[in-house]
């Protein structure tokens, strides 16, 4: 089975996010990017499927900046091929445009199963996987945790997670695009030494992106931190003082009597 995993770089949410002077977009000059965490789950599920069912895993990424190390890391984890799609993506790219670019690139990459992360922190105009499926006229299922290909590889049984812990089991004809919420095991870790070694011994494939017309279909006029009138009252002080204040709060609200 040929599995393709498109991965995407997103701002690292642990870092402070700065908005540019115009107030429309992130200030990309200080932005630290990392792989979308749900894409790591998609890759893990792909690698586990390959381990039991054989086949290949190909990772694709648009060159939105800082993708090389991410792609080498995917190779170090066990992906067979890593393809960088080059183009003018440094200022970010809408989900609609990314989907069209990926759909074109997939014309040259065999795929029985496409696994993407269920969503990314910045896909304001929708999730890339679903838009990609629509562009390729393939079935898609989002919020998937659990993929089991049927014997013969013509279909797969997948689990879609609803709220309250309820799940639906669906049977999907392949090829299909699945938005992975969680792999069946926590994503593996590639040691830095392994990544370094892969950087020396393996190569990234590069293909240029075709020109695309698609855009987000909307224009951001303002990007800002949420202004909440009832933001938390921050308890200041040393850990000792803060613990005392919390203790007093819990006592006052009746959480300490037993």
């Amino acid at each position: 089975m040929n599995i393709v995993v498109p991965v995407k770089m997103v701002p690292d949410l642990v870092e402070e996010l700065e908005v540019d002077a115009a107030g429309h977009a992130l200030d990309r000059s200080f932005l630290k990017l990392r792989i979308n965490e749900f894409d790591e789950h998609a890759l893990e599920e792909a690698l586990l499927l390959k381990a039991t069912h054989g086949g290949t895993v190909t990772v694709l990424a648009l060159d939105t900046g800082e993708v090389d190390e991410t792609l080498f890391t995917c190779l170090a984890k066990g992906a067979d091929r890593a393809v960088k799609i080059t183009g003018d993506f440094q200022e970010g790219v809408s989900s609609h445009a990314a989907a069209v670019v990926l759909a074109r690139a997939l014309g040259a990459v065999p795929h029985d199963l496409i696994l993407t992360g269920v969503q990314a922190a910045d896909d304001r105009d929708g999730q890339v996987g679903i838009l990609l499926a629509t562009a390729l006229d393939l079935p898609h299922v989002s919020v998937v945790s659990g993929v089991e290909p049927a014997p013969g590889g013509k279909a797969a049984t997948v689990r879609q997670e609803y709220s309250g812990g309820i799940m639906a089991e669906l049977e999907v004809d392949l090829p299909a695009v699945l938005g992975i919420q969680a792999a069946r095991a926590a994503p593996r870790y590639a040691p830095v030494s392994k990544v370094r070694q892969v950087m020396k011994t393996q190569k990234l494939e590069e293909i240029p992106a075709p020109p695309v017309e698609a855009g987000a279909g909307s224009t951001v006029s303002r990007l800002a931190k949420p202004e909440t009138a009832d933001r938390a009252e921050i308890l200041e002080g040393s850990p000792e003082e803060v613990a005392d204040r919390l203790l007093a709060l819990f006592a006052e609200r009746g959480f300490l009597k037993r």
């Binding site: 679903i130 989002s142 609803y162 969680a182 949420p226 921050i234």
Partner: protein, 327 residues
Amino acid sequence: MQDLTPLNDMAVVIEHLEGKLADISFEMLGKGRELAKVSGGRLLALLLGRGVKGLAAELGAADTVVVTEHEALAHYTPEAHKQALAAILKARPPRVTLVANTAMGMDLAAGLSGSLGWPLCAYVKDARLADGRLTAVSQIYGGKLLAHADMEGPSAILSVLAGSFPADAGKATGTPQVEEVAPPPLDKVRIRFKRLIQPEAGDVDITRQAVLVSVGRGIQSKDNIPLVEELAEALGGALSASRPIVDQGWLPKTRQVGKSGMSVKPKLYVAVGISGAPEHIEGMRGAELIVAINTDPNAPIFNVAHYGVVSDLFDVIPLLTEKIKSS
């Protein structure tokens, strides 16, 4: 000749499971009503399924309930539902189509945007219509920023985060007009429903606890979880968690709070090392008293918490547990 009448109807894709309407459906009807007042159009509720017509009686907030029934729609599947909706929407394009940003709605919203070529804004917290211009406010970057966007074109799709609008505003009695619409041919579907799997019962039911202390990825390793568990015990409550803790296999799924976990409403909810992503907040927003401990002063959890502590959990939690125990 092209019809140049501006579109002004609002449509809401009704979400339901096992014969029960989801709360988000009412939230969207309330918002849809507000937008329809501005545009002067009708509010349409789009109800798909098999044997679901009876649910229309609960959708009194809408002017018209468009009911589409078919064997292939008996259970939710992304493909058949999307195909049916695309046909319905194409025949009567609304100005705005509201879809829930849920596991079900996610496939529909982006799928419809792709199929119909209508712009989509996801993770929507609010929407305004003024002078014919539609602005959508979407919560991105894990809830850290809000993007206000002007939507292009005559029709737009918005996928709405649960909890964005009051559900009560969309709960109205009254008898909406029911319009039955046959779906397009749905015989070539590539996704088939097999079964629903109900959650397993766990050792504790976190939805019934008065006090929950919830642990997030800030805890760093499984070995540190007892730190937080001890606090929960000292407070006479139970330990719950954010999703990544469960995905790591550190705690069972039954302890997960949030969109794909449990919705909880304890008297006290202490969030320890949890950032407050929209999917987490969805499950605990209703707690009476929320206290958050996080090293990041910009963590979105502080937007819903009543009290916050910006410090290292490893400094504060053991101290606090000690103090509670000896109080």
